[in-house]
Assembly symmetry: C2
Homo-oligomer: 287 residues x 2
């Protein structure tokens, strides 16, 4: 008897693809905005796929979610009001709620079905979304942020790629509205694509150009995320205060908080802002 | 007419695999030691595969070769005599020869056919192996290093994985012989596997345990190598001098050398030694 093999494949480019073995397709549904799939896999545990792209796996989602939250919180421990745009899987919210100092988290997700699917199938990430400090807004982030002024100390853009529902979240207009929605020393963090494959690198360059046009300080840091294309992923760190230095902060103060992390630490935080030459060249438009 | 598709697949584990589209199989031969394949690919240029594992691609070999050479050279600019074990593709030699201060490079490769194949098909990496400062030794690195005493300022173990011909290069006996082959303040750099997939992580833990048993200072640094399993790769940095700190060196002195790099820079060098918590736990045996 031959064993049955079931594989999911993500095409990184026309010439490179990554495949993971599937035990079972747990859920599959086309929402108003995108195709949502949940798989159980032997290597990565449960996996969320949106429009054919791996969004998170139980094995390594901690890397993405820790690294999109903790650097900003270490630099600005006085952050109280946070807006997460996208992030319907709840992983970002889970990490934010580790900070007792945070008073409110608004989560603005365009696709109600992502939230419901993650609540049902991914309690590891989605389990904290009903916390009293969290308010859910099922809305287009682009429109939602336009109505906010001086309202948030931190905005986290936890979006999909700049194709489909995430597209508007990579535009100058959107970043400009985020700027206005932030308080005086506000910070914006965004998932910033990858420098490696051509299409991702172009999206990365565009995001950095638009962010830099709006914020007086726009920097980039890097993370190892093995289940994203190339495993070399970037986040953007932009601040309204031109003097803000994302590598200057009180390490002891953050360590004293006793926040539990498996990837993030304050030394790695500082190291992650040191980028390879070819990435710096891409960001500065030299390559 | 349907287009012909040809793909090469590397199995990272039983449940994860990476595939690259092939334009042509340029060369394929089973040497005494391993299966050698050269492919031309649209995404990665020419690719060298040994025993089914991607060793290097023209697109990103600069990352591996810069990062296995320059950190040691920045910390110890007085290095004059170097031994490379493995490294038959010549990429390591190419980077070393950028330093005028280096007097000799011994390259000890077990498989003559790797050198010949790379000379023929991969001049980008293999083009400097006939330099007057380079001496080739077609020999088992394990036996070669046993005969050397106090002979090298730097040993670079540019090996395959610890299965097949590379196996002996991950043992305590081998590291002990390297220790004796090094001069007083000598440094050993080795490719140190990856923390992500279980098999690679076990090899990484074993390598670190053995290195730490022999060298008074054994540290690890990380690199983004998209065409290696998980893209999260490590190198070991071990020193005979317990006081050696791989993050303390004169950045200006290295920058003044005018060495050309596309990945390495001195800030990234320092950042690459800051490891994620889960990797530190694996290395210390906590996980």
């Amino acid at each position: 008897m031959q064993a049955r093999e079931l594989w999911f494949t993500e095409n990184y480019t026309d010439g490179a693809r990554f495949s993971i073995r599937i035990d079972a397709q747990v859920y599959s549904h086309k929402s108003r905005f995108q195709q949502i799939d949940i798989f159980d896999t032997p290597e990565f545990g449960r996996v969320l796929v949106l429009d054919g792209c791996i969004m998170l796996t139980e094995k390594d989602e901690f890397i993405y979610h820790e690294m999109i939250v903790h650097p900003a919180m270490a630099v600005r421990p006085d952050i109280k009001r946070v807006l997460v745009i996208g992030g319907g899987d709840g992983g970002c919210v889970r990490e934010l709620l580790q900070y007792e100092s945070i008073e409110s988290v608004d989560l603005c997700e365009i696709d109600r079905e992502v939230i419901e699917t993650c609540r049902r199938f991914l309690p590891q990430t989605a389990g904290r979304m009903d916390d009293i400090r969290v308010e859910l807004h099922i809305a287009d982030g682009l429109k939602f942020v336009r109505r906010q002024k001086n309202a948030y100390d931190l905005i986290i853009v936890d979006s999909t790629d700049p194709f489909g529902p995430g597209e508007g979240l990579f535009t100058r207009e959107f970043y400009g509205n985020c700027y206005s929605a932030l308080t005086e020393n506000g910070i914006l963090i965004n998932q910033h694509e990858s420098p490696y494959y051509r299409g991702d690198a172009l999206a990365m360059q565009r995001a950095h150009r638009q962010l830099s046009a709006v914020f007086p300080m726009a920097s980039v840091y890097q993370v190892h995320i093995p289940t994203y294309p190339s495993g070399h992923w970037l986040f953007g760190f932009a601040a309204k205060n031109a003097e803000c230095n994302p590598c200057e902060f009180d390490e002891e103060q953050w360590n004293a908080l006793g926040i539990s992390t498996r990837y993030y630490n304050t030394k790695l935080h500082k190291g992650s802002f040191a980028l390879p030459n070819y990435v710096k060249d891409l960001l500065s438009g030299k390559e």
